[in-house]
Amino acid sequence: MIETHDLTKQFHDFVAVDGVNLTVQSGQILALLGQNGAGKTTTVRMLTALLHPSRGWARVAGYDVVKNGHDVRASVGVLTEQHGLYMRMNAIEYLDFFGQVYSLSPSTRKSRSDNLLEYFGLAEISRRRIGEYSKGMRQKLALARAMMHDPGVLLLDEPTSAMDPESARLVRDEIARLKSSKRTIVICSHNLTEVEGLADQIAIIYHGRILLQGTLEELKHKVFGVPEYEIKFAEAWDASGLKLPSGVEMLSQTATSFKVRVEAPQDSNPQILKALSATSASVMTFQEETRTLEQVYLKVMAEAKGPENVQ
């Protein structure tokens, strides 16, 4: 579990992270989104007990990042922005070195290393110098290093960057598997589609401050308001006579479609469908208006930058 309160980091006059409050339960994935330099890496570094907060506190895996830095580092697996690989080592030596750093027994080191190399498809090239690896292979090896000591908390900075679609899928599957085994995971990413698929919680950071935080649905709701649905017909049909349940507002209407805003979709949508089926309308599709995380993110960022950026 990760908890932060008023987490702040200041370098001389520059405030890199400003009053961040987060709670990530075990078995949850939090995605930190934001521009480069927004404060994501500084936040992660504070959660790894590498940087001391200037104000506020953070607890990771039950340990205070200031008082128990050693324990925090032992409980966390970190995938850094740069891979941090020793180019003259081979993959086996590299994982074994970090296994020793994390005080794993020789047999554990061997079995973990073999499994991870096999899983990430690096077993065949494990005796080649890391310097000869492609970017994607290096990323996979760095991820294997972060998982080598089987940490309870994973902090992953751009976990699938530079990877081919197949490898990225592999990593996403692994992250999902780790989540189901009750690990706490924080991902910093610019890949919003990936975040949409993985994250339970999303926090958007701008200039060190969290602008928006919550589940994807909560974020959409906060940014765009209540969801909108479009109902399309196979043939022209006049919907003006349709009796809509309370909490549903008609927004627009054409000959073959109409749009509604629904405050409580789980209650109202079945009623709308029921009302339509009682008519002669030939319903072709009943679809929520697409509102992606990308749209949410772009709108939030545009608002944060000032009214002139809002489209």
């Binding site: 370098f11 001389h12 570094r45 790894t48 590498l50 940087l51 001391h52 050693h70 324990d71 580092r73 032992a74 966390v76 970190v78 850094t80 922005e81 740069q82 891979h83 941090g84 690989l85 020793y86 003259r88 080592m89 070195f97 970090f98 020793q100 750093v101 994390y102 005080s103 760095a142 290093r145």
Partner: protein
Amino acid sequence: MFNKLKPVWLVAGRELRDQFRDWRVLTPMVILVLCFPVLMNEFAKQTVDFLNQYNANLILDRLVPFSIMIIGFFPITISLVVALESFVGEKERGTIEPILSAPLDDWQLYFGKLLVGVATPLIASYLSIAFYLIMISGQELTIPPLSMMVQLILLTTAHATLMVSAAIVISVQSTSVKAANLLASFVVIPVAILMQGEAVMLFWGNEQVLWLAVAGVMIIALLLIRVGIAHFQREYLLGHEIDAINLPWIWRTFLSNFVGGAGSIGDWYRNTLRSVFRRILPAVFIVVLIAGVSTWFGYDWVIKNVSETIALASPEDLKRVEERVRELPDLANLREHFSAPFLFLNNTRAMIAILAAGLVSFSVLGVLFYMMNIGLLGGVFAILELLGVSPWPIFLAGVLPHGILEIPALMIGSAAVLYLGVAIVTPQVGKSMGEAILELLADWTKIFVGLVVPMLAVAALIEAYVTPGILLNVLK
């Protein structure tokens, strides 16, 4: 304990393996180990032939120890590059963060780097020395005695430790390899000067002095290690990305520490200066003790070493010296040459020299300068006694009137330097090394400006206008 040291070996082992896989490190080291002794041997042969023409046996005797020192030194200079980039190089390559994120203590990381930084050049140096000794064993040259060989090996070890520990301090504090390499001159130049001094000592052949040199270099090397650990911060390695001298920030930090929030000069004296004086009080007690010891050493050394020279001097020489001592000084001439501003500037310069020496040696050399200054008093006392002149009236008339301010000023100023040195080697939680040094310099300046300068100014006035008159009356 073994478990605590295990990560140190682990970090060092990985680095060592990395180095031995890098031809850029290996090649110059192999060349230096194998070629330099051959070159030195050839140079020695030519020198032997040349000096034999002039029967300069003394220089020949000292040539081998000198060559050993130089041969041992060269591999260290090349390995300095490895030590210089130990932390900052990893930072630039992006490999530092995973290892910093690991559950290793700061000292384990630091010692791992230090160990490999010292071990590699030392192995190369020892091999090089061994190779040279094998080469010269079959020649006319005299191999130094065991005690001198031990001194040379220790001196080589001290050089390596000194340079590598300084290089690692630079590596931790730098933000790029380029900056670290530029700062390397702060290591190479002082050590080169040190080597020249040691070469003189080797040719002088005074074993006792050479032992002192070995001890001195070792002490400074150990202090440098202490400084490195005290100021090693994971945060500093990650938090600073740009090589820029932030002069406004430096000035602001210094000024705010110097002023200390005081609203007026009275307030500054009452609160800011008093607070820093309280902090240096233990150092003041120590320098007072040192003063006693130094005076005694100065007195004792002169009694032991100069009395023999006086005993050998002819009665005419002695009489001449005594007459000169008793000769009444020309007061007007004295005032012309030793005016109050001259005396003030001279003493101020001495205080700044003590600070400068203390800054580069964590107060060791600064305190040494202070000891020499104070020791002189004991020496002069002893000389007067040996000449049969009662020292007390001269001391009371010629030193006490201005010395009552000048000596405490010297003591307080030196105590501030001692405090500065001790504080540099002490961990300063939450402060970067730059911040800590700026604060300490501000503390020293407070003492210097608020106490030492006024005391020295008054002392200079007394020394120029009051002391000569009193001394003259006493001598009459």
